[in-house]
């Protein structure tokens, strides 16, 4: 009798009853395969312990030379570069938001009813969503010359696809009822947008834009490496001449600035939500 109950329980919930041998074999096989694949990848990348140890040794020496951190008598220049980095991030974010707004409206299922068009539009955005700002910056600087101009465009280009996607999701997720309510009072389409849709989507969008400002400030730090100005240029210059005390100073100062901006923007976002 109890055997029968056990068999029935096994049929009803095989996973809960420990699973069959073939299932276990499959799990073990998959695990072994994953471990083997990982090991092969590590070997392929030449991640040898001795290379790691040698590097750690050198890193320790670099870290030791970073104390005490010093501004190298260049504080005004560093602060100027930091301001430039923030300016690039801010300008890039605003441009991205402006460009993403119409794209987001077009990408919203509730606005563009045509499913094929909607699908194609989303896919194109998806393709370019992953391209990092640095990759855009590299070619833009080469096309438009050294300076922050290419950096601003690069940041904007890197953000537009993701922002447009988030914007269209915000529009799709908006509640129909307030919009219908405003329309029922006989309001013009513009009024419907202003009093029906805007109050719903603006806080969401603003909070997303602020989030991108935070991440852009982080990304902007590196654009200087490819010649797009800002703190990245100062950093790379000092790393190249092994002035690690100054590198440490700049990185520390920069991290404080990032933390300040993050706190500030998080506070605004919390108020918006």
């Amino acid at each position: 009798m109890s055997r029968e109950i056990q068999a029935r329980a096994y049929l009803a919930a095989p996973a809960a009853m420990g699973g069959s041998w073939s299932r276990r074999l499959k799990t073990v096989g998959l695990t072994l395969f994953a471990v083997a694949a990982f090991a092969v990848m590590c070997i392929d990348l030449k991640l040898a312990p001795e290379a790691l140890l040698a590097g750690m040794d050198k890193f320790d020496r670099l870290a030791a030379s970073a104390f005490p951190p010093s501004d190298g008598g260049d504080l005004p220049r560093i602060l100027k570069a930091l301001a430039e980095t923030f300016a690039m991030a801010f300008a890039g974010t605003v441009l991205a938001a402006l460009a993403a707004l119409p794209l987001g409206v077009l990408g919203a299922k509730t606005v563009v009813g045509q499913p094929v068009l909607h699908f194609a539009f989303r896919r194109v955005l998806d393709w370019f969503r992953g391209v990092p700002a640095l990759v855009w910056a590299l070619i833009l600087v080469s096309a438009f010359g050294l300076g922050p101009f290419g950096g601003v465009i690069a940041l904007a280009l890197a953000d537009v696809p993701s922002l447009a996607k988030l914007f269209s999701e915000a529009i799709e997720n908006s509640d129909r009822r307030p919009i219908d309510g405003v329309r029922a009072t006989g309001a013009s389409p513009l009024m419907v947008l202003r009093y029906g849709l805007a109050p719903q989507v603006t806080p969401v969008m603003a909070s997303q834009v602020l989030f991108f400002l935070e991440s852009n400030f982080r990304n902007a730090a590196v654009l200087g490496i490819v010649g797009a100005g800002g703190i990245g240029f100062e950093l790379e210059e000092r790393i190249r001449i092994f002035a690690f005390d100054q590198v440490f100073f700049i990185v520390g100062l920069y991290m404080v600035c990032v933390a300040v901006l993050d706190t500030f923007s998080q506070r605004i976002r919390a108020r918006l939500a």
């Binding site: 391209v131 990092p132 096309a143 438009f144 990304n219 100005g229």
Partner: protein, 292 residues
């Protein structure tokens, strides 16, 4: 009448305050925007006279001069696809290296993040000082931009994928550590109590009570991070930390803008494939999580 007048006055005051608030907000925003455009020399920078012509010129240089009739010829024929993607074997090899870097770094970072997450979850780590210091450490990692770390590590570990893997692993640990600890804190204690009541041992409790609750979430976050790491790894090569980025840098050095576009398309395709695979796995995991 009095009450109505009072209400009207209140409404006027509130409206005035609101308008003042939005106006001052708008002013601050415009001021920052103006300074930003001025600082970043957006409108003043010299991008070589006629900017629109410049952009057009740049786009024409990016788009390869493909010829319809010789499209499928070998790479010696100018205008064929093989001529455009002339170094495809090298790019595919470096592309694969980029994928390997992302995978290895994600695994290492996820293991590191897992350990850190146990140390800073409120329900698993009783010592507040440990929780506090681990959390601050993870925050510091998240503040540091990947590529700044990569620059430092390339200086120490030399040019090559090792520096890139360590960079990505450290930054993955920073973000996953935080997310994992949040998952740990959300483990439903009732399931554990139910198991305790049925009298099972500790290992069975973890196996059937904790893992089914946390594993799908862990894996799902790690896979999302893998997608991000692949994009990150593609950029790391630009600073010499291994992967396909080095070919981007090379194409720019020789001002081969059409080659740049070819590699860019390859990267986009690679990211797209990984995104799809990861999404498929994530959806299956979430389904599995529900079935349990």
């Amino acid at each position: 009448m009095n009450a109505v007048a009072e209400f009207e006055a209140l409404r006027r005051r509130t409206l005035r305050r609101r308008r003042l608030e939005s106006l001052s907000g708008l002013l601050v925003f415009s001021a920052i925007l103006l300074i930003s455009f001025q600082r970043s020399q957006f409108f003043s920078s010299d991008i070589g006279g006629d900017p629109l012509g410049r952009i057009g010129d740049f786009l024409t240089r990016m788009i390869p001069d493909l010829q319809g009739e010789v499209l499928l010829d070998d790479r010696r024929t100018t205008g064929s696809l093989a001529w455009w993607f002339y170094d495809l074997p090298v790019w595919l090899k470096l592309g694969w290296q980029t994928v390997e870097m992302a995978v290895v770094a994600t695994v290492l970072g996820a293991v590191g993040g897992l350990l850190a997450s146990f140390l800073c979850a409120r329900n698993l780590m009783p010592i507040a000082a440990v929780r506090f210091s681990v959390r601050r450490m993870l925050e510091a990692i998240r503040t540091l931009p990947d590529l700044v770390l990569a620059l430092l590590l390339v200086a120490a570990f030399g040019v090559g994928p090792l520096a890139g893997v360590i960079t990505l692993a450290i930054s993955t640990m920073g973000s996953l550590g935080k997310l994992f600890s949040e998952i740990n804190e959300e483990v439903d204690p009732r399931q554990l109590e139910a198991m305790e009541a049925s009298g099972v041992g500790l290992i069975a409790k973890i196996r059937y009570g904790v893992i089914p609750q946390v594993l799908p979430n862990y894996a799902s976050y790690a896979l999302i991070r893998l997608e991000g790491n692949l994009a990150g790894a593609a950029a790391l090569g630009i600073v010499g930390a291994g992967g396909i980025g080095i070919e981007l840098q090379r194409a720019i050095t020789y001002t081969e803008f059409d080659t740049y576009l070819a590699i860019l398309l390859l990267i986009v395709g690679m990211i797209f494939l990984i995104d799809m695979a990861s999404e498929a796995i994530r959806h299956r995991l979430i389904g599995l999580g529900e079935a349990r």
